[in-house]
């Protein structure tokens, strides 16, 4: 049971970070490998505020999200925008370039070491039930992720903004024709995606660690979530993250000798049978 719960918690964390990617990659159809770099930025903002400025942990989370979103918007306005119409290969190369720059930048400002992180007391410790040990922080992650999943789903499916977004993605010309400001929608969506990355990065420091190689180390996991969950599908990402989290933790726990092999195998097998992802719809455009 504890293994399953840990799996769920790590899946939820995975979801928190990769749902931002699901938004940019899935909804906007931009292969953004630099997503991990945004998550790393959020992590550094959180750690710096916490350790040097003494800001309380819960307050650092929105600041991390906001700061990341601002950087995201700046980059979107100047660089990303030019590549919306480019081929996937160009987008991949461009974002790998950003990843390299972010790694070197993190080295420069923060050094190569792992960043220390001390959680506030009310998030430490465990709740012990018969047959089940629940870390409080993990519980916190699970609850927060579920709330965000619910909120995002409502946002995309049930609001005016969501409708405009889906219209802009499916057919930008027609969307412009009915008076939607497609550029603005895309900028906002990108900001949303990077803000979620920043938030996920900040929350992930405790479990994933934080050092300059973060964007490369975990980008594979984020991509797997999006690819398996189906692009642009928030519930799909949630389910995929949970599956991956549980499989990954269980695999590492029960058969440590094959380690991370399991989740790559799961991904490849899933993609062979469902190239569109578990809950995919055909990518627009």
């Amino acid at each position: 049971m504890t293994v399953i719960f840990d799996g769920i918690a790590s899946g939820m964390l995975l979801f928190l970070i990769s749902v931002g990617l699901s938004v940019t990659l899935g909804l906007m159809n931009f292969v953004n490998l630099a997503h991990g770099a945004f998550a790393m930025l959020g992590g550094y903002v959180c750690v710096t505020l916490l350790n040097r400025a003494g800001v309380p942990f819960l307050a650092t989370l929105p600041i991390a999200a906001l700061a990341t979103a601002l950087v995201g918007v700046a980059l979107e306005r100047t660089l990303y925008r030019r590549l919306y119409a480019a081929s996937h290969l160009d987008q991949v190369l461009f974002s790998i370039g950003l990843v390299f720059m972010s790694i070197a930048g993190a080295h420069y400002f923060f050094g190569a070491q792992q960043q220390p992180m001390v959680l506030p007391e009310f998030l430490q410790g465990q709740i012990n039930l018969p047959g089940l040990d629940i870390g409080v922080y993990r519980l916190f992650l699970v609850v927060l992720s579920l709330a965000i999943a619910y909120g995002l789903n409502r946002l995309v499916r049930g609001t005016r903004f969501g409708a405009q977004l889906r219209a802009s993605v499916d057919n930008p010309r027609a969307a412009r024709g009915v008076g939607i400001n497609v550029e603005r929608i895309f900028t906002l969506t990108f900001a949303l995606g990077t803000a979620l990355a920043g938030l996920g990065g900040a929350l992930g420091v405790e479990m994933l660690g934080l050092d300059p190689s973060f964007p490369v180390k975990y980008i594979v996991y984020f991509l797997i979530v999006v690819a398996v969950g189906g692009s642009g599908n928030i519930m799909g990402s949630l389910v995929a993250s949970l599956i991956l989290g549980v499989v990954d933790v269980a695999g590492k726990y029960y058969v440590p000798q094959i380690g991370a092999f399991v989740i790559y195998a799961v991904m490849v097998v899933m993609l062979i049978f469902r190239p569109q992802g578990l809950f995919g719809r055909r990518a627009a455009r």
């Binding site: 991949v92 190369l93 370039g97 972010s102 070197a104 690819a227 790559y264």
Partner: protein, 333 residues
């Protein structure tokens, strides 16, 4: 297709078919040997990376298959040759052949997975295959040495004559010779009907079946060939360094390779070679100047290339050629 794959190589060996600029290009490795006698190790690395880049160019530049996991084949080839040499079969050419065979099989098998999806799925599947191999190599420590790398390789002299020396002279000429031979094969390949049909697939995949070209068979054939090339490059690295590190399979290697190819300009064989020369030299100098942060400039370079110079060095050469007309008239390939 069969005929294209088993071409008689004699005609290409004749130099008269080659353009003078190409011949001049192949004098560079000879000149480099005399100009930089102290940097033979680096030059050997360049030759190996050039071969590796050539293999990606075949599948990406000519056939348009995107791959984020090409290091899978490079690493597999390196381990194949390395394991052979570590277990007493140290003949270098035997190692190359074995590496090519093993990687070709893997390439053929995985080509079916890769061809199932569109771009994004391809990126993910190639990446997934590479990561799986990485994990296998990482965990099978009793065979591969895991993180410590594969040690104890004993590579015999090339052709029984030329022993690998401390200064890397044999290694250099060996790598250059293999690169040149395989380059000639690739050159012939892309100019053959088979190569032209690949270009057709890349440019208009919908129309190729209409003129009777079996698209998937062609793509899986070129993917297999590309895999074998990458495997040979990996084997060369293993044999010349007498060591296989786990990072032959790493994601960074695949990503860097894409960078090199785009820097040089994909879809032209010399682009792959020029890109490698420029990249490796820049890498060497930047990491000397600025060991920790050269990666930043690398990233910046990549962003700039994608935004402003999509065709890379070859594109620049072609543009210059257009402007200068006859002056540069024959650098184009």
């Amino acid at each position: 297709m069969q005929a294209a794959l088993t071409l008689d190589l004699a005609p290409i060996a004749r130099a008269d078919r080659w353009r003078p600029a190409e011949l001049a290009f192949w004098l560079i490795p000879v000149a480099a040997y005399f100009i930089f006698p102290d940097n033979l190790v680096l030059l050997t690395q360049i030759a190996i990376t050039a071969l590796f880049c050539l293999s990606l160019d075949l599948i990406l530049g000519y056939a348009g298959i995107v791959s984020l996991g090409h290091a899978a084949f490079f690493g597999l080839g390196a381990y194949a040759a390395g394991l052979l040499a570590a277990h007493g079969y140290g003949d270098p050419l035997l190692g190359l052949v074995a590496a090519a065979l093993v990687t070709a099989v893997l390439g053929y098998v995985t080509s079916f997975l890769v061809l199932r999806g569109a771009d994004l799925t391809r990126l993910m599947v190639t990446l997934g295959v590479a990561m799986m191999l990485y994990e296998i190599a990482n965990k099978l420590t009793h065979i591969t040495g895991g993180v410590d790398g594969l040690q104890g390789m004993e590579v015999l002299p090339v052709l029984g004559q030329f022993e690998f020396d401390l200064y890397g002279k044999t290694a250099y000429w060996y790598a250059i010779a293999v690169l040149f031979a395989l380059f000639c094969v690739a050159r012939k390949l892309v100019h053959s009907p088979f190569g032209l049909s690949l270009k057709g697939v890349r440019l208009n995949v919908g129309r190729m079946p209409a003129i009777g070209a079996p698209v998937n068979a062609r793509l899986s054939a070129v993917y297999t060939i590309g895999a074998a090339y990458a495997g040979i490059a990996g084997a060369l690295l293993a044999q010349t360094t007498q060591f296989v590190a786990l990072d032959v399979l790493a994601f960074n290697r695949s990503a860097e390779l894409l960078l090199i190819l785009v820097l040089g300009g994909s879809g032209s064989l010399y682009g792959a070679l020029l890109g490698t020369i420029v990249f490796m030299s820049a890498h060497h100098m930047l990491s000397d100047l600025n060991p920790q942060y050269w990666q930043f400039w690398l990233g910046a370079l990549l962003v700039v290339i994608v935004l402003f110079a999509r065709d890379g060095v070859m594109g620049g050469l072609r543009g210059g050629q257009r402007r200068l007309g006859a002056a540069l008239g024959r650098t184009k390939q």
